[in-house]
Symmetry: C2
Subunit: 461 residues, 2 copies
């Protein structure tokens, strides 16, 4: 009974059989044509946006290549009979896949190092900022971003305005013998080893702090940097509140919250910040002078050789004008990036052989932020910062830390970090058995897996 | 000379020495207090948004736990001396870390299955949609989303409007004996094995197509589903253009482009779509009837047991009213999810033991989309769809496919997929050596690593 109710359809289908067959053949021809066009990257874009995003065929192609090489790797696994070879195979797979990830994130989203960080000639709309930069975790440099701030003229022409506004302010000054605070230094009692050295912090009237910055000098082992990453612009420097915006309007609207902290930085060319990451979305505005950033995406975590280092602090002895570096007691370990991207000429060869994943891998993104510009430094990106002074010898910047979302990207990052890359974990090709006999394969972890997330507790710019 | 220029500072520092010491002690006490508060989750939120996002201390804590257990795992590695144990250790590490990822993405971002998919009682603003759902790759269900569409009344009360508007339209009808198109079926010549079966597609006048849907019946092995994922709403069904919006305005503004394809679906409770993912941001609007989705995030890819299956097609023989399933010649393999979340009672035990990562892991998110509601189904999410008909026996829906961004999330997904999970790759605990002697450890891949990205070429709802 039920089947007979389909009679009309069946009759129609029968009469249409020939037409259908012909149509199908034509469709197949068309499909082949379309597929060919897609393979040539000729897929038509969507109507409206005209954005330069990779088409899905790009994604497919890239995925296809990746899967094919994975398939080859799995076939290889079938050929491996001993556990020793299996270990090598697994280590090799992890190494290969981690290195593919470095490439893929650049190919698909970030672009090449030579093309550099994307530059916008005026601030983006909140939607553009969220869609093209925050969501894909991609940096950008924004010109003409802060020209309307009174600070742009008031702070750069002379010190008069700063000294007048802050005549009675007490500020935090970070003192080191080298300009490198929160960075690796020779261990005070084991010179062949390293520790994580923090600055000596002094609170003092702003005019004295500024005088100290001007008198900073490497020959006399004294470098001062006025900064404190505790929302200092809205506390110690609250007298300057009218000179800058209290938040970045388009970022606040995009991110749906006001900044968690706003920090002021006054230093000169002697201060340098070592590679690290922050768990914040960072809007970094330079008011005078220049900041030079090296940037690596979070996918490149193994290239930073994060290790645990014993925490140490400088103390400044006013009588001798000298610094003493002392370990914390009891010992506390800080996970920190091991790579110095600018080793001294005499150390260069050694550093390059110690950290091949950094020095031999894709170059970091280099970006110089000038007065009036804002860098969007996405959460979890590794960054190293140097600076050039203005004609008066100062670099002044304000940065805005917005809460990041701990979403699927963060979960993926933690997963990636948990997968060992042999070279990043102290396994040389020889130790992995790729060189010489495979029978001497050994695993050699360099110590406890670092608690990389603790890095944010020591906050830097 | 240079050092003497610091005289003022040094003098001041000396006179401030006592005060400073006291201040430092106080600061340390304060810091401890703050740290304690943070550990208790009492960290103050940012001023403006008041959003219920995890605080950075949540993220830290979660990361800390993860790192600690990683550290324990690495210490274990030092104790392992043989390559056999090393293989086991590496496999076990990968298994553990993949399973931690499933948990972490739920803890941090998605919420629990019991709490379910977030529901919005009216459409979000473009910024809210982008910030809270697209960027974190998180689904949501939006009520009161399409009540202003003429379709809401015109299509649901009777067939009159559809039949009148489409009286001369030719539409694509998908025919199967089971209601399962683009899903796994017994292999036509090796019944113990499976193939990937596609529907028989017929073009016919809309009135006949609708009649076929009404006459669908499992007892007579005939199920019809009017659909074609080639932008059919704007081509075959263009006569209905005025009844629905041509795009979803807040999604278009958020994503910065118009939909790549808009598809119409007319079927009933007999049609079911097997687990798969699409490389699109999907806005799924139900006009009449209900759709029942099971959703798994892309982090759970190993739980889908994606394997290559030989492609086959149904052909419908009008004279006998029967279907024939034939393999493509030459054979072509389609990577597809192996899991049927609703196995028949007689198969249930076998299916559960074959796919423990799915059946024993976190439950999928279940969401029912009713008339007037829109589901945001994020790109790369695995989804399984069933439907309930309205009082006239039909389920009608329109879905909008927007281009996704191939960004860092996509690169991370490809990386995750390349890391083997022993259970997902056909290694039983025994084969891994966790049960019985470790000397019989063997690796047993189930075939070529699937080209999962090819899945999108066979598009489903």
């Amino acid at each position: 009974m039920l089947r007979s109710s389909k009679g009309g359809v069946q009759n129609w289908l029968e009469s249409e059989a020939e037409k259908e067959k012909k149509r199908k053949e034509e469709e197949e021809e068309e499909d082949e044509g379309l597929e060919g066009a897609q393979q040539m990257g000729l897929e038509a874009g969507a109507g409206g946006g005209g954005e330069a995003e990779p088409t899905s065929s790009d994604g497919e192609r890239r995925g296809d290549e990746q899967r094919r090489s994975s398939a080859a790797a799995v076939v290889l696994a079938l050929l491996l009979s001993s556990s020793s070879l299996l270990s090598l195979f697994l280590l090799y797979t992890m190494k290969e896949e981690i290195e593919k990830l470095w490439e893929e994130v650049r190919d698909l989203s970030l672009g090449t190092t030579t093309a550099g960080v994307e530059r916008l000639h005026s601030p983006p709309t909140p939607l553009q900022f969220l869609r093209h930069f925050v969501s894909p975790n991609k940096p950008c440099l924004i010109s003409n971003a802060t020209l309307h701030w009174p600070a742009t003229t008031l702070w750069s022409s002379s010190d008069a305005h700063l000294l007048r506004s802050l005549s009675s302010a007490t500020v935090s000054l970070h003192l080191t013998p080298t300009g490198r605070a929160d960075s690796l230094s020779p261990h005070p009692s084991i010179p062949s080893s390293l520790c994580f050295a923090s600055a000596s912090i002094s609170s003092m009237p702003f005019p004295l702090a500024l005088q100290s910055i001007y008198s900073s000098d490497l020959d006399s082992n004294f470098v001062a940097y006025a900064q404190q990453q505790n929302d200092c612009f809205r506390s110690e420097y609250s007298a300057l509140a009218e000179d800058c915006e209290s938040h970045i309007p388009w970022a606040t609207e995009a991110l749906g919250c006001f900044p968690e902290a706003v920090n002021l930085w006054i230093g000169n060319h002697l201060s340098e910040t070592s590679f690290h990451k922050d768990h914040y979305e960072n809007l970094y505005a330079v008011v005078t002078g220049e900041k030079h950033f090296l940037l690596l995406p979070p996918t490149d975590v193994h290239r930073m050789y994060i290790r645990n280092y014993p925490a140490a602090h400088y103390s400044y002895h006013k009588d001798t004008g000298e610094f003493k570096l002392e370990l914390e007691d009891p010992v506390r370990y800080v996970p920190w990036c091991s790579v110095d991207p600018y080793p001294s000429p005499e150390n260069k060869e050694r550093e390059m052989s110690k950290f091949p994943l950094y020095f031999d891998g894709p170059k970091p993104f280099e970006v110089t932020v000038k007065a009036g510009e804002i860098l969007y430094l996405p959460s979890m990106w590794f960054h190293h910062v140097r600076q050039s002074p203005d004609s008066r010898g100062r670099t002044i910047a304000v940065n805005y830390w917005y809460d990041m979302q701990f979403d699927i990207k963060y979960a993926y990052f933690n997963f990636l970090q948990s997968i060992p890359h042999p070279s990043s974990h102290g396994l040389t090709p020889h130790e992995m058995g790729f060189v010489g006999s495979s029978s001497d394969t050994s695993i050699c972890y360099s110590g406890d897996e670092p608690d990389i997330n603790a890095m944010e507790r020591v906050k830097c710019d």
